[in-house]
């Protein structure tokens, strides 16, 4: 087995956090994702999603913007540059594991 050149990321590898980062990285060119859309895409509950978003926000991997549309509160989430770089690095690590197992 060959050594990995990329580094794993414990914080991102958790199942729901990985899905959050995957959705945000795919949507990055179109701006932030709304909380409800992110919830639908990841299949998470409100509480679970909020908890993991806070963890990722504290790590500097995403930004959370809260405002109101009329009287309705709105929460939008966007991946940061650091978050995108960390996610890509972790993806590279995962692919290297698969590639190493195939050689």
């Amino acid at each position: 087995m060959t050594e990995n050149s990329a580094q794993p990321n414990d914080l991102i590898h958790q199942a729901l956090r990985l899905k959050i980062m995957a959705a945000l990285s795919a949507a990055r060119e179109d701006g932030p994702l709304e909380f409800n859309r992110l919830k639908a895409l990841t299949g998470a509950t409100d509480g679970n999603l909020s908890t993991h978003l806070s963890t990722l926000e504290n790590a500097g991997y995403l930004g959370i913007d809260k405002d109101f549309v009329g009287k309705k509160p709105r929460t939008r989430v966007a991946i940061s540059k650091a978050g995108l770089a960390a996610f890509r690095e972790h993806m590279r690590y995962l692919r290297e594991i698969i590639e190493a197992s195939e050689t």
Partner: protein, 190 residues
Amino acid sequence: MAISERNAAEALRDVRDVQRRTLLAKGYGLASPHLALSGVIWAAGYVATGLTPPETWPYFWLPLALAGALGSFALSVRATRAVPGDPAARVAPASRMLWMIGASGTFIVSTLLLFQPKDIVPALAFPAIFLAYIYVLVGAMGASRYLWIGTGIFAVTALGLILMPQAIAFWVAAAGGGGLLAGALWMRKP
């Protein structure tokens, strides 16, 4: 942290699945205003068709078709305005939209001219059947909401042909227009 090969494969599969659904949701969001516009034009055209004699139909269908094509072009340009890059490249999706509308319209008109249906009822139902066919094809390629919208439009149109052929224009107005408007609302949902 040690990640097994199996765990890595599962994680990559999850990522691909979420990214595919994210892009699909984006596509649905972009399609929603197009469906709403088409639904309004479709319903207005078919209600007018039901209320007026056949010789007057080109007078409102041609302007409606033109308004629909230009409206779709404008919606596509607006949707890509926020995307950075070459302005000419941003107009490309809008141009493709015009080509698709033009090709669909040409196909429907050509088919009707070619086969010259003696009965007006199937001629009025044909565009709805064709629309349903296109949506089912798009849906079969992975965008499942189109599949359901197309199936719904086809089923309601077929029901109209069987149950109320004498009021087919109004039936198709409700089936096509209503189906497209309901589809537009569904596409907006997360």
